[in-house]
Amino acid sequence: MGKVANQIAGGNLSDRVLQCGGLSDELGELVCNFNRMASRLEANRDEMNVLHSRLEDKVRERTSALEIANRKLRESDRQKSEFLATISHELRTPLTSITAYAEILVDSGSIEPEKRARFLSIINTEAARMSRLITDLLSLERIENGMARWQASAFDLREVVKAAAAVLGPALAEKRMHLSFTMLEAQPVLADADRIQEVLTNLLGNALKFCRPNGHIGIALQHVSASGPRNASGDYVRIEVIDDGPGIPPEDRDQIFEKFYQGANTRGRHSGVGLGLAISREIILHHKGEIWLELPQTGGTVFCFTLPRHSTAIEFQSKVLEESYTPA
């Protein structure tokens, strides 16, 4: 028993005192209780070991969760500083023109009238660009943070297409662009009409911006049974804005819907701040549709988006609408 007690004291809890048969005296009882004590100790130790290892697992789990959270925070921090740097650059660019031309005009008393008019009009244009940047930023920020107010109503998408085309009418006319529609049947949707019109205005505006004068832009509406590249099945309306412009170079295609992305070789050559497509994507995603880019072999660019088709019957005048429209 002394040997076993020594073993137990040394941490080996599995040894037991062998009972020499029929010990019924006090010594036998002591051996019995000693063994029971050793078993209890062993069981407690085993239980403790299990708890200990569970605790370690838990600590490991929590640590790795914290590490992931930490990484995410660092990444979002990095994105935030990058975003701020981009915004400050994007704001500084028009501001630079505004302050430079203003100072030039203040300082030059005898500047030619044409120059004066041109510089004033640049100040005007760049002030508008700054203002649009701020409006777009706030709008995108509200949508991304779920703070935007949406007003859903049921309408025929053809009406909104017409409204967007009308807004751009003067600009289309100025560039002598030809605009055509393929909208055979009514396309009922339940959506925020103003926001959908904003998407269409953005896409039409891009087509107008990048096409050569006398170019062609087409808008086609179609009832389809899948949402687009993600291929969710259901009743959808597919809207295509087709242009015969220069297309989009391969290096820009993946990033074209990202904030402030303006295309590696288009920056500075076209007005705009690179938020239109980012906002459009948020709007379409909010409506559970998809938006993507297609580049036909024949050239040009096709922007497509889908919206769930509104299933409940709405009384639409189902007049046939296939027409061409050349702005006066």
């Binding site: 650059h89 660019t93 630079t96 023109s97 030039i104 120059k115 244009t125 590696a264 920056r267 050559r269």
Partner: protein, 122 residues
Amino acid sequence: MKAKKILVCDDEPYILESVGHVAHTEGFEVITSDNGEEVLQIAHRELPDLIILDISMPRKDGNTVCRELKSAADTKKIYVIVLTALGRECDMHESYLSGADEYLTKPFSPRHLRSRIHAVLD
């Protein structure tokens, strides 16, 4: 005396025009370019007395242009004023490390730019 030559490079057309206007009204010959690749070619061909260079440009950024100018025998003596919207200290260090002689930030004052041009060229 032949007018001294200033080469201006910026990818923002209005800013390019404003800097060009400032240099031109001071009586200098002005050449403009809207990208970093072209500005290098022009620099080697025209050997201007001063280059006013933007940093953030597509294809080839201003710091790369500056390094290439300063490492070529025919262009390394040309004075380079960087004019950029990048305003952080680390951006300035990078431009100086690339060999820029002077660093101005946007928005800029045409008055100040005019006096810097004269300080360099007169």
